[in-house]
Every structure is written in C-alpha cells, then in structure tokens.
C-alpha cells in the first residue's frame, strides 16, 4: 500500500491521542458523574479510532479484532455505570 496514506494515518492516530488527553480535563473536573462518564466514553471511542488507524497504518489487519473487542467492552462499561448512577439517584 501507499507509504503516504500510512504515514498520514499514523499521524492522525497521534492527533487523536492528543485530543483524548484534552478530553481528560472533562473527566477530571466533572461537574456531574454523567459528565465524567461522557468523557470516559469519548476517550474509549478515541482509543478505538487509534487502534483502527494503527492497524491500517502498520498494515496489521489482525489488530482490528482488538478494536472490535474494545468497542464492545467500552459500550458495556458506559451502560453499566449509567444504570448504576440512575438506580443510586432514584433512592430519594
């Protein structure tokens, strides 16, 4: 495959990592639990994007499996914590 496209995708992976680090500000400051949860969700999706870019940029198709598993685990995490806070919040 083309050298240029692979370089661009690896560079894009680096940029996405930088943006995930910026999003960590929202996870750290809140103010609500759900704000932090949204931030964690965005960081998880960014991780999936990074894995996909690395898989394509390094020409390693087997890395896509890791991205698949990571996407589904990330979804489970968000859903479970959202349900947890909701039941906790209903006890009034």
């Amino acid at each position: 495959m083309s050298e240029l496209a692979e370089t661009v995708m690896l560079g894009a992976a680096g940029l996405v990592i930088l943006m995930a680090l910026v999003v960590f500000y929202r996870v750290a400051t809140g103010p609500t639990t759900q704000d932090r949860l949204i931030g964690v969700n965005v960081i998880g999706t960014s991780t999936v994007i990074v894995i996909v870019f690395i898989a394509a940029g390094l020409g390693r198709p087997e890395y896509i499996d890791i991205a698949l598993v990571y996407a589904l685990l990330n979804f489970l995490l968000s859903l479970a914590i959202a349900r947890f806070t909701y039941h906790e919040g209903r006890v009034e």
Binding site: M1, S2, L4, A5, E6, V8, M9, A12, L15, V16, M19, A20, V22, V23, Y25, R26, T32, T33, Q34, D35, L37, I38, G39, N41, V42, T45, S46, V48, I49, V52, F53, A55, A56, P61, E62, I64, D65, A67, L68, A71, L72, N74, F75, S78, L79, A82, R83, T85, Y86, G89, R90
Partner: protein, 131 residues
Amino acid sequence: MTVQTAVVIGLTVAAVFFTFVGAVGLLRLPDIYTRAHAAAKADTLGAGFAVAAAAVHFGVQYVVVKVLLLLVFIYITNPTASHAISRAAYLQDAPVWSRAEDGSGELISPRADEHRAETGVQSADGGETEP
C-alpha cells in the same frame, strides 16, 4: 498519488476533524445534555470516517468484513450509551442550561415545570410570562 491514497487521506482528515469537534464541544458546552449531544454526534462521525479510511486502505480483503462489523457496532452502541447517560442525568435532575431574562445563561432543573405543576405555583418566578 493514486485515487485510493487520496480517498484514504480525505477520510482520515475528516475523522480527525470530527474528533476535534467532539473534544471542543465536550469542553466548551454549558451542560451535560449539550455535551452528550456534541460528543455523541462528533464521535460517531469521527469513528465512522476512521473505520471507512481503514476499509478503503485495506482494499479487497476478508478483514474489511470485520472493519464494517466494527462500524455497525459503533453505530449501534455509541448512541445507545449516550442515551443511557443522558437519561441517568435527567433522572438525577442534572441542571440544564437555559436563557435567563437578561439574556445570560443560567443552570436550572430540567424538571422545573413538573415541580411547578405539582406544587400548583403558577410561574412565580416570572419565567413563563407569554406576551
């Protein structure tokens, strides 16, 4: 530069752009609901373009099936997670940003109308005065 390379680079740039939009929205918007909105839309689009770039880059291989499966999962799970988080926030009375009388923003309860209806107080704060 072949057509394939150009398409891959274009899709990659679009993915980075939408991830950037999501990060900016998450940091700059005023309440949890708008943040969830920005993050979900931008992130789904960013992941979609990234996965599309990888699919075009790999060309005709069996791994493209897995890549498209990843796209389907992201498109199903990302909105679902955002919906669940926003719903949890609403049920917990997370404050919603609203335009105040003087034009500045303020954070109020999302169920302010419900509380008003329950207590029978008709907009004592003057928030509902229709012309």
